[in-house]
Subunit: 150 residues, 3 copies
């Protein structure tokens, strides 16, 4: 059994940025030497998602409109009410309201995506790209890529 | 290749209960002896989801509000209309309406979550916890944890 | 380590068709000879999802109603505005509007599902079936099934 784990760091620039990490995943698969197996793409953050879809700017703006309509950014969230909050106050960032981002992450429920590898090739479809989706604001982020197989 | 499968049973107490199963997953990883690989956390139920997010009571109530707004519990669901229903009537519980819970599960589309394991450590982010989310009512439930790697 | 990868082709007949692929997955698991491990069920398309839920026609119609309410098919999507679009125009099908289908796929965020295998048995719950969900229109499609374990 072969395995390779990589941690790729970067900074996002805004809420609803679709960061294309497809080439990161493909190069990890290449370096792993795995011919048949799977790649697990994982976000260790509570306000980001891994999404596989088409890289087309119209869709990306449509999806932003949809998420903002279903989970309004300016609604009132208990997560953001510091007069009520007693947990996780050691988070340096808890004074920046991001209840909407936690809710959007929960709705997408997609901290990871797993993709088959066959004959050394990631089995993405013709139009599929792997995106790290920022649901909060510009922040330092990481994507974890775990390849396993033979 | 090492593998360990565990089936953890418990009872939920109400709709939208977030049951924290992080320690169950961590202890299965420890018992497995797997240093590098992945943990698959799986719900075998059609009205529950596995969700990874922050354990903060404000967020948990915000998310309940969001799910109830998008999938109202008291709307009319064909799944609950026993005058129409011809399938799966051997389910002892089909007389308790839970069409909303099936729809919420479909929307989250999250029967499982997979998490990388590196150097014996589950790669959860600082604020991430793994939750078994009850979308139906108080019921006997199971979460399946499959660890594989080396 | 044992592995088996299969590519199953078929045609869908309409938007929101739930195609039951449970028997495809079970037969791939059988052919693989894997006793303990996992099955990864993957859609290589940007307008389809893999969903695990109950096979009950009331629920299936309820879910169609929900998706259409949250992501209206006849709303205006930038993805469908060919006067603006500059990317991926080599797609033969780009003249058929399917922005709603991309958005619904993004919302479900579910290109794949992973299911544990124990003692040669796929660990689906009593009421769980694995569906390939068509979010676009009648099209030629594929589902990829990757089984790995021992």
């Amino acid at each position: 059994m072969k395995m390779l784990f990589e941690n790729h760091s970067f900074s996002t620039t805004r809420c609803m940025e679709f960061r294309d990490v497809t080439d990161d995943v493909r190069s990890t698969v290449e370096r792993s030497g795995v011919s048949n197996g799977m790649a697990l793409v994982y976000s260790p953050h509570t306000t980001c998602a891994i999404v596989i879809n088409e890289k087309e700017s119209g869709f990306i703006r449509d999806f932003e409109t949809l998420v903002r309509r279903l989970v309004p950014q300016d609604a009132s969230y208990l997560h953001d009410d510091l007069t009520l909050r007693t947990e996780n106050l050691e988070d340096d960032d808890h004074d920046v309201p991001n209840g909407h981002a936690h809710c959007a992450q929960g709705l997408l429920a997609s901290a990871s995506q797993a993709i088959p590898i066959v004959d050394g090739t990631l089995q993405l479809g013709r139009w599929q790209r792997v995106f790290f989706l920022e649901l909060d604001r510009a922040r330092d982020r990481r994507v974890l890529i775990q390849v396993l197989g033979e």
